[in-house]
Symmetry: C2
Subunit: 211 residues, 2 copies
């Protein structure tokens, strides 16, 4: 596919740039409203004391999430994706011109809410995260195999409301493990601090493995 070839070339360029400036990059994909911004924000709050963190907020209308990030006092680049339903290497490449990569240790990229297209667009990232929430229903994992097959970490969020939506989180965990044996599968809730600590530790683990 021409589009993918073109994207992969640019993704490789991004990867080179990140490597050169020693930036660890995280592509956070997930369903609409699954909690991507919440989880990235909570991670930034914990990480920013010891690491230089920045974020690219990608969406149709990026400034809503971007303002949540900039409130945390870190470099934030809103990336309006318009009619595109996924971030691509080109948008990321252009965003990189707006930030000083030498001043960044960890760069988060919040992808557009979508479990289909983002799976096919390499951004040049080191780490691929997929976030789904219990409120999307427990068949959501098997319905979107490709994005899970390419994930490095899977997050099942909003576990505090699992009973309210009567969803079996263990089924969701099993389904992820079936599609992608061996990857870390985190169950999180913004209301349960220990789950957030684990989420942050997984990012730090991957960061250390890369350094």
């Amino acid at each position: 596919h021409d589009i993918f070839k073109k994207n992969d070339k640019l993704a490789a360029k991004n990867r080179e740039k990140f490597k050169k400036h020693k930036v660890f990059t995280v592509n956070v994909m997930g369903a609409i409203g699954s909690g991507k911004t919440t989880l990235i924000s909570l991670a930034i709050e914990k990480l920013k004391k010891e690491y230089n963190v920045a974020v690219i907020a990608g969406d149709v209308i990026a400034d809503m999430d971007a303002s949540r990030f900039s409130q945390l006092g870190i470099p934030t680049i809103p990336a309006n994706t318009g009619k595109e339903c996924h971030l691509d290497a080109n948008i990321v490449n252009q965003s990189l011109n707006r930030v000083n990569l030498d001043e960044i240790d960890i760069l988060f990229m919040e992808n557009v809410g979508n479990l289909i297209c983002p799976a096919d667009f390499d951004l040049g990232e080191d780490l691929r995260i997929v976030v789904v929430s219990v409120s999307e229903g427990d068949d959501i994992v098997l319905k979107h195999p490709v994005v899970f097959q390419k994930a490095d970490i899977a997050v099942i969020n909003k576990i505090d409301i699992a009973d309210a939506v009567d969803v079996d989180t263990e089924k969701m965990v099993k389904d992820v493990a079936y599609l992608r044996p061996g990857i870390p599968i985190l169950k999180t809730s913004k209301k349960q601090e220990e789950t957030i600590d684990l989420w942050v530790s997984e990012i730090i683990k991957a960061y250390n493995a890369k350094s």
Copy 2:
């Protein structure tokens, strides 16, 4: 845009076909896991006594939703969209070959979970529904203006868990009214029968207006 021109031509063909066979068609769009299948299923249960109902279930992997529909004993056409993140007029056109339109009064088309691309692909439908749920967050409406600007009915679902996710449903209603003044905005929960009766009555109202 070439893709849209091509789609619009085929959508017009579909529209002609539906008109010829007197089929009332409903395009149900919405976020991933917002409750499209649930709402369509509940509507089918009430409508099938008096109307001949059928459904096209569109998704990456369509058979999960399709089996929920076929259990209701109505003609169900699974439409696998593969890497496409939206139903288009072509997929619908092909699906129509697999059903006897003379035997159908109301045809539901469940779109792929996505609030971006489906807005741009006319399927040839009579009625456009957009479903979001409170669990996606109350900024979800303003983040996706185009799909709401083209909607005929907006549904804010899962109101039974609004407090559990601390979302202001009235803000969501206001945001829809701002983008698309005058359209019916329904607040629903699968657990609150009266909200489902209202949802079904809106469909019947539109059906009668068309006949």
